[in-house]
């Protein structure tokens, strides 16, 4: 119970730190403080993607509709966070390079993820029968997951990248000012916790709904609708 309020204070502290504690890196403008939200949100998008992919796989293995519910919940949240990541990334890009969108590999990758999420949810919406929907969505999701590494890791090798390597190096060596790095990592952790909290809420609501519909066995409450 208390951990929720802990999360509230934690994220509030991270927000304050992002504005008052962390300095700006060289050549960047105030707009680029959004990096403390952009990278964690993009990270959560990837986490959601992995969770959705995992549960898609588990559904095909077990044919348990609860797994499908988990995959769907992750995908829904993933779409939300992906949209946020795209927008915050565009704002960061404007501050850093003067253009909202320039198709550098990272922007291309996040756009691709946006399409995948949207297509997955479109597919789910198009199929009525829960079992068939779960199966088709799981297959599509796994195909998408298989193709994604190609676009995210291979495309940057083909094209020149405009992503801020001086600050965040794909090679793993982070050259941020230590304070920037602290705030950034703190935000990363906070957003991950936030994601899993919202995700668990979403899943529980879906499972409850499935039980009420009789699709899943379980202690359906006797509620007069």
């Amino acid at each position: 119970m208390a951990w929720r309020w802990g999360l509230f204070l934690y994220m509030a502290a991270v927000t304050v730190a992002a504005f008052l504690y962390a300095p700006l890196a060289k050549k960047l403008h105030e707009q680029t403080r959004i990096i403390y939200w952009h990278i964690p949100v993009a990270w959560v998008t990837v986490v959601a993607f992995v969770v959705a992919g995992w549960h898609s796989w588990r559904y095909l293995a077990t044919r348990d509709l609860a797994q499908d519910a988990r995959a769907a919940a992750a995908a829904e949240l993933g779409l939300l966070f992906c949209a946020l990541a795209t927008v915050t990334g565009a704002i960061f890009s404007k501050g850093m390079w003067g253009a909202y969108w320039n198709w550098d590999p990272r922007q291309t990758s996040i756009f691709f993820l946006l399409l995948i999420y949207a297509a997955y949810l479109t597919l789910r919406a198009a199929v009525e029968d829960p079992t068939r929907r779960a199966r088709l969505a799981a297959v599509y999701g796994l195909f998408a997951a298989a193709v994604t590494p190609l676009l995210i890791f291979v495309v940057p090798r083909l094209f020149f990248t405009l992503h801020p390597d001086p600050i965040v190096n794909a090679g793993g060596k982070l050259e941020m000012h230590p304070r920037m790095f602290q705030v950034f990592m703190a935000a990363l952790g906070g957003f991950t916790v936030l994601f899993f909290w919202v995700y668990s809420l979403d899943v529980r609501i879906r499972l409850h709904q499935l039980r009420q519909d009789g699709v899943l066995p379980g202690a359906g409450k006797d509620r007069s609708a």
């Binding site: 929720r4 999360l7 509230f8 994220m11 509030a12 927000t15 304050v16 992002a18 504005f19 008052l20 300095p23 700006l24 890196a25 060289k26 050549k27 960047l28 403008h29 105030e30 909290w197 919202v198 809420l201 529980r204 609501i205 409850h208 202690a219 409450k221």
Partner: protein
Amino acid sequence: MNEVLGRTIGERIAADYVVMVVALVVWGAVFLYLLRLDKKVRELDKP
């Protein structure tokens, strides 16, 4: 275009505070919404 290469801790601009407060308020609103949602879901889960 602003050519300052980087602000030190001492050089804040007003916008920093404004945006920060807005962000905190937004976070507060989101949090309270989630808290209420959480309570409702726990109602559902009770036997």
